[in-house]
């Protein structure tokens, strides 16, 4: 039986499958539900300084089974209210990773410090949400700004800091390198891909906010390409995100260089039972291929390096 336990820098996970930020993360009970279903860790909703309702509906467009376009607009209850949800999840034994977003380095650092106090095992910085004005891509698309934010956060917390990078940029690996140089313990890639849907009968965008972020199976090749390039550029662990719904998808990411993966869109409709299937499927597949552990498969698709 292949060993699925993995380490992401200083963070120990029972298996490589993390619940992605933005999915089932508004309530601690939902986070705990994902944990109980077998996730190796759960990432919270991205939390900001104030309660934020997000954009009006429509906030989602569904493309049969291959994609979701969302412009939720970072709805979250704010840092004052959210700790109770983290506590509820931790009380059920979950490994919780806190996600934060801010308009500048100082806000990121303040939020990271406060969320750390709730007992999260690591922090993931949302540098890359492509459709929230004033946040996300506009903040994290410049390597120098990424470095500034990561540096400020690393200075104000003790837990590992994960920088989540955007695909909506010509050089995601440069962003990852900047984050690493500033002290990030790991990189996660990718967030959603900028996209748009138009309703031709109504002559208008479908989503209330217009532009949105594409997730799901359609973006898997994009995520894989970013992980591939980032793995070649940095030495810190890489977490792969984007379009994972089967164990085979996860294995592609591991072989591309990811030591763990995040699962989001695949939770749609079928729920967190997907985690049980992923864990079982990966274990079987690793056995079939002769890998003693998930860790042993990391990066093996790359030509031998150094």
């Amino acid at each position: 039986m292949a060993d699925l336990a993995v380490r992401v820098g200083g963070l120990a996970l029972r298996n490589p499958f993390l619940l992605a930020s933005g999915i089932w993360g508004e309530s601690g009970e939902s986070l705990a539900g994902a944990w109980d279903a077998g996730a190796g860790g759960v990432i919270t909703k991205s939390i900001g300084s104030r309660p934020r309702p997000g954009y009006p509906n429509p906030t989602i467009e569904e493309y049969s089974d291959w994609g979701l376009l969302n412009a939720m607009g970072l709805p979250n209850p704010g840092i004052e209210e959210y700790p109770r949800e983290v506590e509820a999840a931790r009380a059920r034994g979950a490994t919780v990773i806190g996600s934060v977003f801010g308009a500048d380095a100082e806000e990121f650092a303040t939020l990271a410090h406060r969320l750390e106090a709730t007992g999260v095992a690591a922090l993931e910085l949302n540098l890359s949400c492509p459709h929230a004005e004033g946040y996300g891509t506009e903040v994290g698309s410049d390597p120098a700004e990424v470095a500034e934010i990561v540096r400020a956060v690393v200075r104000s917390v003790r837990v590992p800091v994960i920088a989540k990078v955007t695909p909506n940029t010509p050089d995601p690996a440069a962003l990852a390198a900047a984050a690493e140089s500033a002290g990030a313990a790991a990189i996660s890639a990718i967030n959603t891909v900028r996209g748009l849907a138009i309703d031709t009968t109504l002559h208008r965008p479908v989503l209330a906010h217009g532009l949105g972020g594409l997730s799901g199976p359609a973006i898997k090749p994009v995520g894989l390409a970013c992980v591939w390039q980032i793995y070649d550029r940095v030495s810190v662990p890489v977490i792969g995100v984007g379009g994972i719904s089967t164990a085979e998808d996860a294995l592609e990411y591991l072989m591309a260089g990811a030591c763990a993966v995040e699962v989001g869109t695949a939770v749609t409709r079928g729920g967190v039972a997907v985690f049980g299937r992923l864990v079982e499927g990966l274990s079987r597949r690793l056995d079939e291929l002769g890998y003693a552990s998930a860790a042993a498969a990391v990066g093996v698709a790359h030509p031998p390096r150094r």
């Binding site: 909703k45 309660p51 906030t59 939720m72 209850p77 109504l202 479908v206 729920g271």
Partner: protein, 261 residues
Amino acid sequence: MRSVVELTERVPETPSTVTLRFAFARDAAPGQFVMIWFPGDDELPMSLSYLDGSSKGVTIKSMGDTSRNVQRLEVGARVGIRGPYGNQFDLAPRRVLVVGGGSGSAVLAPAAERAAARGAKVTVALGATQAAELLFRRRFERMGARVEVATDDGSEGARGFVTGVADRLLATEEFDAVWTCGPEVMMQKVALAGRARGVPVFCSVERHMKCALGMCDACALGPFHVCVDGPVFPAERLLSLPEFAHSHRDPSGRRVPFGTR
């Protein structure tokens, strides 16, 4: 994914509710809801209040800005529909007590119609603030149900809450199931009354929704998501939840006690 349809009918039901009808061929069962996009305004979950054949309908109560704009939409206005989503009422029970409060009748009426058409004995306890607001009272009577009403102001039927009527009916008659929809505190009372009599109660629950696909957690209720595990829940699942009849969440996800805005 969405169908864009034109409103084919606009039927004022009570002073504060209106039914909007549209052509939507996809099959739907009583209890299910659709997400209706009012372009430029909002997209909201609405239980189907008419679902036989390809002409479907929703019945909207005036609550908040969007609903007032929406109530003024004319025949021919275009809306986007996605769904139907959610689960349905189990239509097997032969003797059903339907307990509706406020706009709760919107989801209960089509369920009662289907049950009556299958030969079930349907009894309805209907409550509202005043006589004119008893939603679908005539519709329930036309389907052959026995209807008893209660109004806050006593303008029709018993003066007081519909839960009093429901209590009396549960005490004096035999039912296989209770279906209820209305303010959550009301549904909790009905659920407790049914439990005390050993009658299973099913509640159609409402929560703020964004994705309606079981992903975003906006409609999380205890360990459930109203959009995929509901909206129809057996009361036994709800009565043990601290939030049931106590709090819901606002669009940011903050917990808000019922009764506050």
